[in-house]
């Protein structure tokens, strides 16, 4: 954890109260976001995101699998986050496990929607190849390379960028397979299908320090938080998931305020991220 003196703590809290934070930002301003796509050639899609000193990598791998019996018309997506011990010595060994699990659950909640598949950022029915028999299994892996606060927002953005960078090979299904037989498939090597990522939400974490909430907190600021609420919002302005961190209680009206602030902030963030992803893709292609 971050060790701060009493003076430093007061400085951070006072700055936030006056809407001027230590690095000169306002309460609702993000750090500049740098996006780089296609960083892992082994994966079907990948991206690296840097926000200040926070750096994360997300990779998407697709494998052919079998849909679950309960949902034969849907593919499967799993999200795992790994907190590397290079990011912080405290993550060494099993130290990062709790944080990894917390981040994974929060991302699954935000991106995969409810049990019925409603509100999912990724359209699971687009992953189906042959209904009930073959589907794509997407494995989304996130890696925290360097940690300076606001990991969840960065990971959410990295996954969004990695998904828009993802190309799924076109699959030819051999005709003639009937009944219970597993149809033969041919995976194309040079034809790739792009994903529709317009529905993937962004995550906005509002960290409450003192009486005010801030976005994109650094780890110094996070050490002063009483609680944080991560809200994922899609392009339509609908809420796709909320996770609360920190166990200090919040008044319900504050939560509702945070939701409306998050909706406002998310609009700018989505636009900013989309343009960054587009320019990163352009650079990647050239």
């Amino acid at each position: 954890m971050v060790g701060l003196s009493l003076g430093e703590r007061h400085f951070i809290q006072g700055g936030i109260a006056q809407d001027l934070r230590c690095d000169g930002r306002k309460r609702l301003t993000y750090r500049p976001i740098y996006v780089e796509t296609g960083v892992i050639p082994q994966a079907h899609g990948s991206a690296r995101i840097r926000m200040g000193a926070t750096e994360v990598i997300a990779s998407v791998k697709a494998e052919l699998g079998k849909p679950s019996l309960l949902q034969p018309d849907k593919g499967k997506v799993s999200i795992y986050i790994d907190c590397s011990s290079t990011a912080e010595p405290a993550f060494e060994g099993r130290g990062g496990d709790d944080l990894s699990a917390e981040l994974s659950v929060a991302l699954q909640r935000s991106l995969l929607g409810a049990k019925s598949g409603a509100g999912a950022g990724i359209d699971l029915s687009s992953l189906i190849v042959v209904e009930g028999k073959i589907c794509w299994d997407l494995y989304i892996d996130g890696l925290v390379v360097s940690s300076d606060g606001n990991l969840l927002d960065a990971l959410g953005a990295a996954i969004k960028a990695a998904l828009s960078n993802t190309g799924i090979p076109r699959v030819q299904v051999a005709a003639g397979a009937s009944g219970d037989e597993k149809p033969e498939v041919e995976i194309s090597d040079d034809e790739f299908l792009q994903f529709d990522t317009s529905g993937v939400p962004v995550i906005v974490t509002l960290t409450k320090v003192g009486r005010h909430s801030i976005v994109d907190a650094t780890s110094e600021e996070e050490s002063q938080m009483s609680s944080a609420v991560s809200i994922s919002v899609n392009r339509q302005g609908h809420i796709c998931g909320i996770t609360k961190r920190g166990s200090v209680g919040l008044d319900p009206s504050i939560v509702l305020d945070m939701i409306s602030v998050a909706k406002h902030v998310s609009e700018q963030l989505i636009n900013k991220l989309d343009s960054e992803i587009a320019s990163a893709e352009a650079e990647d292609d050239s």
Binding site: D98, V105, G113, A114, A118, G246, G249
Partner: protein, 253 residues
Amino acid sequence: MAGKAGATPATYSPSPTTDKKKTSLIKEDWVRPDGRGFHQCRPAFFRTGAVNAASGSAYAEFGNTKVIVSVFGPRESKKAMLYSDVGRLNCNVSYTTFATPVRGQGSDHKDYSAMLDKALGGAIILESFPKTTVDVFALVLESGGSDLPVVISCASLALADAGIMMYDLVASVSVSCLSKNLVIDPISEEENCQDGSIMITCMPSRYEITQLTVTGEWSTPKINEGMQLCLDACAKLAKVMRSCLKEASDSQD
């Protein structure tokens, strides 16, 4: 939300609610599988002092969901832990192998353990037991939907039974969204086809939310409605929990 009246049958017969029939929930005029109104909770039953060995314990039954929670401590923290001038809370939620229709692994539920920890942490006065740990062990005997909310409410009752200092009881309720309808306190069948859910744990007397999770796609008015439903139900649930505690202390005198 009234306490369950005790007309117990002489011999045990399994409750007949787990029929395999799959109702289509998209229809306009569907009824909930157990015949409740959309905004009606299952009858809640609480009993403290279920485990003798523990410093405090509670048993909760909401329809088919049956949970037992025992609290140990405050007791000495493990040797490896560093000195801490506030107490520690250690939560663990596990399922029995026979809790679910398909035989489970019966292992620990990591997500729920973390959620329970965060939901209770804000309500407990940790300063009142420095250097020591309070262990909260929850066991889901039968999973019948809304498991985590029941575990959280039951755990706060067990903490109160153990005499751990708290700011307030913690009550928890979830709401599911099924197409256009909001249904409170969903059972497993409803949870399996829900389009979204809100779970709120709150301290009703202080009117503070300690934990909140939302899944699925929600518009702002719908979230407001769902949150208000949860908060109202939490307030009612807390009354039932309080009366259970009172009953227990009265019978001791």
